[in-house]
C-alpha cells in the first residue's frame, strides 16, 4: 500500500460531519444486526442449557410439549422399571414423575397476565437438574401447600417472592423459597409437590417422566424399547433435544425477521457510504491526478479509497457493537409460542457475534466503497489534474 493509511484517516477527520453521519448510519445497522444475533443466541443458550445431555424426557406420543402431554400412573411405573435408569448415591432411582400445567399470573407493576409454568416435582427432581440451586428459603415440605419460585418469577410476578402467597386451583400456596436456575428456562417456573398439585388441579395423570441415564450412550436402547412397547403410548427424547425443539418456532421467526431487516438496513447504510465516498472522490479529483502524475499506480489509488471506506465502516461497527453490548443489561420476558408459557432470556454477546458483526460492517464498507474507488482509479490523469 504505497499511499499512506494516514492520508485516508486524515481525510476522514477533515470532513468530520460527513464522517460522523456516515459512521452513525453504519453503527445503527451494526447495532440492530448485533442485537438480533445476541437475542437469538440468548434464546438458544437459555433453552439448550435447560436440558441435560444425560437426561431423558418421556412424554405422551405426538405431544409437542409437557403441557399437552399425559402419562398415566401405570405407564409411568413401567418407565420406572427400565434398567437404563441411573441410581443415586443411596441406591434410589434418579427418576421423577412430574406434572406440568400453565396458570395465568399478573406481572408486577403492570398487571398484564402471563402464562406461567407450574411443575409438580418429586424427591429426585432437584438432583436431575444440577443447574438449579436454592438461593433463598427452603424446599417445600411434602404434602403441604408450599411452593418455590424461579428467580424470574419471584422478580417479575405478583406474589412470587418468599413469604408471599399465590392463589390458584382454589387454594392458597405460600412461597417458601426462591431458586436460581442459571440461564435456563426453569427460572420462569414455579415448583411444588406433585401429589398436592395433581389433587388441586384434579389431574389424575402425570405430564412427563424424567430420568437420568446410567450411561449416556444407552438412549437408543431405552427409547426403542419404550416406543415399541404395546402397553405404552410414549415418546422418549434426550432432554437437550426436547428443549432445542421448543425454541424452533421463535428462533426461526427471529431469524427471518432479523435477517431480512438487516439486509434492508444494510442497503441503506451501504448507500450512505457510497454517497460519502463518491463525494470524497469528486472533491479530491485534483489530488488523485497529482498522485497519478507523481507515479502512483491506479491500484494504489483504488486501495487508498477502499481503505477509507473500510475505516469508516470499522468505526461504525465498533460504535454499534459498543452500544449493543449494553443490551446485555436487559432481560426479555415473553411468551414462547410453542409452549405457550412464559420465558425469560437475555441478550448474549459472544466473541463470535463480535467478529461476525465487524465482518458485516467491513463488507458493507467494501460494497459501499468499491464503486467510488474504481471511479477514482479509472480517472484519466489529465482530466483529473485540470478539474477545479
Amino acid at each position: 500500500m504505497k499511499i499512506p493509511l494516514l492520508y485516508s484517516l486524515r481525510n476522514l477527520w477533515t470532513r468530520r460531519l460527513t464522517t460522523v453521519l456516515t459512521a452513525s448510519g453504519m453503527a445503527l445497522v451494526v447495532f440492530v444486526f448485533a442485537a438480533i444475533l445476541m437475542l437469538a443466541e440468548g434464546l438458544r443458550k437459555t433453552l439448550i442449557e435447560t436440558g441435560s445431555y444425560d437426561n431423558v424426557l418421556v412424554i405422551r406420543k405426538a405431544a409437542v410439549s409437557e403441557v399437552q402431554s399425559g402419562v398415566d400412573r401405570l405407564q409411568a411405573s413401567i418407565v420406572e422399571t427400565q434398567p437404563e435408569v441411573a441410581l443415586g448415591s443411596e441406591g434410589q432411582r434418579l427418576l421423577s414423575k412430574e406434572l406440568v400445567v400453565l396458570i395465568t399470573l399478573p406481572r408486577r407493576g403492570s398487571d398484564k397476565p402471563a402464562n406461567v409454568v407450574i411443575r409438580g416435582i418429586g424427591g429426585s427432581s432437584l438432583k436431575l437438574r444440577p443447574q438449579v440451586k436454592l438461593i433463598e428459603g427452603r424446599m417445600p415440605r411434602p404434602g403441604s401447600s408450599e411452593i418455590i419460585a424461579g428467580q424470574s418469577i419471584a422478580k417479575r410476578f405478583k406474589g412470587g417472592g418468599v413469604g408471599e402467597t399465590l392463589r390458584f386451583a382454589m387454594r392458597d400456596w405460600t412461597v417458601v423459597g426462591v431458586f436460581d436456575a442459571g440461564n435456563t428456562g426453569f427460572n420462569s417456573e414455579i415448583w411444588g409437590d406433585v401429589d398436592q398439585l395433581m389433587q388441586a388441579f384434579r389431574r389424575p395423570v402425570y405430564s412427563s417422566v424424567i430420568f437420568k441415564l446410567r450411561d449416556s450412550s444407552e438412549l437408543e436402547a431405552v427409547k426403542s424399547r419404550l416406543e415399541h412397547d404395546p402397553r405404552l403410548t410414549l415418546d422418549a427424547l434426550r432432554e437437550t433435544k426436547y428443549y432445542e425443539k421448543q425454541s424452533e418456532m421463535m428462533a426461526k421467526f427471529l431469524r427471518i425477521l432479523g435477517i431480512s431487516l438487516t439486509l434492508i438496513f444494510s442497503i441503506g447504510a451501504i448507500i450512505g457510504a457510497m454517497i460519502t465516498m463518491y463525494a470524497a472522490v469528486a472533491n479530491r479529483t485534483n489530488e488523485i491526478g497529482t498522485m497519478r502524475a507523481l507515479g502512483f499506480q491506479r491500484v494504489s489509488i483504488l486501495t487508498s479509497f477502499l481503505m477509507e471506506s473500510l475505516f469508516l465502516a470499522f468505526i461504525g461497527g465498533c460504535i454499534g457493537l459498543f452500544f449493543a453490548s449494553f443490551l446485555q443489561l436487559f432481560t426479555v420476558s415473553t411468551m414462547n409460542w410453542q409452549t405457550f408459557s412464559e420465558l425469560a432470556f437475555s441478550f448474549s454477546l459472544t466473541l463470535e457475534i463480535i467478529s461476525i458483526a465487524l465482518l458485516f460492517a467491513l463488507v458493507m464498507g467494501f460494497i459501499g466503497g468499491v464503486l467510488p474507488a474504481f471511479r477514482a482509479a479509472r480517472m484519466n490523469i489529465l482530466d483529473a489534474l485540470w478539474k477545479s
Binding site: Y7, G289, T290, M291, R292, A293, L294, G295, F296, L385
Partner: protein, 233 residues
C-alpha cells in the same frame, strides 16, 4: 555540440483530440532535442498545444504517433503501468496551482514521491531535510498547505519535484498564481536548480518575466514548433 545524446529527443510527434465527431489536430510533426541542463520556455497563444507537448514529455499523455526519448528511454513504447513507474524516478512536476495534498504536511508532501521507492524511513528523512533546506522551508515542515502562502506552497511543490533527483523537471505556468515578489523568488529558485544542480527544466508560460529567466524560448503556434528558437544566455 556534435553527436552528444540529448536528454529529450522528440521525433515526428503527432497528437490530436477528438471532440464529438471532429478530430482536432493539436501537435503536428514536432521535432525537438533538448540538452541536459537546459532551461527551456515554451510559449504560444491559447490552444497552441504547448501544455499538450509538456504533458507528452512528462509521460502523462500519449502521442498518436512519433517517438519521445527521455534520458535514453523511449517512453512512447512504455505501457501505462511502466510509465507510472518511470515518472516516479524521472519527472518532477511543478503546477500552476501547486497541487499539494491538503491533508499532508509540507514534510509529508515532499516525502510522497519517495514512498514509491524502497528507501527506509530514515533514508527518506535525510532526503526530505535536504530538499527542505534547499527551498528554505525547514521551519515550516509541519505546516499544512492551508497554513502556507502561495509562494511557500510552490516552494514545497518544487522540493517535492526534485526529491527523487529526476531526469527532467516540467513546470506548467509555475508563476501563474503568484504575486510579483513570490514569482521572482520561485523563478530564482528554478534558476538555481539549473545552475547549481544541473537540472533540465521545461516550462510552459505566459509570463514574460518567467520567459526571461529561461535560456531558450520556443514558440508553438497551431501545433507547429517555431523552427528558430530564441536563445539568450
Amino acid at each position: 555540440m556534435g553527436n552528444k545524446t540529448f536528454i529529450v529527443e522528440i521525433k515526428n510527434l503527432f497528437k490530436s483530440y477528438r471532440r464529438g465527431n471532429q478530430i482536432l489536430p493539436v501537435l503536428k510533426d514536432i521535432n525537438l532535442d533538448i540538452d541536459e541542463g537546459e532551461f527551456l520556455a515554451l510559449m504560444g497563444p491559447s490552444g497552441s498545444g504547448k501544455t499538450t507537448l509538456l504533458n507528452l514529455i512528462a509521460g502523462i499523455d500519449r502521442a498518436d504517433s512519433g517517438t519521445i526519448i527521455v534520458g535514453g528511454i523511449e517512453i512512447t513504447s512504455l505501457s501505462e503501468t511502466e510509465l507510472a513507474g518511470w515518472r516516479a524516478y524521472n519527472v518532477g512536476f511543478i503546477f500552476q496551482f501547486y497541487n499539494l495534498i491538503p491533508v499532508l504536511t509540507a514534510y509529508e508532501n515532499i516525502e510522497l514521491p519517495l514512498l514509491l521507492t524502497s528507501l527506509s524511513k530514515k533514508e527518506r528523512r535525510e532526503h526530505v531535510e535536504i530538499a527542505l533546506r534547499l527551498v528554505s522551508l525547514e521551519d515550516r515542515m509541519d505546516h499544512y498547505p492551508g497554513q502556507l502562502s502561495g509562494g511557500q506552497q510552490q516552494r514545497v511543490a518544487i522540493a517535492r519535484a526534485i526529491i527523487t533527483d529526476p531526469t527532467i523537471l516540467v513546470a506548467d505556468e509555475p508563476t501563474g498564481d503568484l504575486d510579483r515578489d513570490s514569482a521572482v523568488e520561485i523563478l530564482g529558485l528554478m534558476e538555481r536548480l539549473v545552475h547549481e544542480l544541473g537540472k533540465t527544466i521545461i516550462m510552459v508560460t505566459h509570463d514574460p518575466r518567467a520567459a526571461k529567466m529561461a535560456h531558450i524560448i520556443m514558440h508553438l503556434d497551431k501545433g507547429v514548433l517555431n523552427a528558430n528558437p530564441q536563445n539568450h544566455y
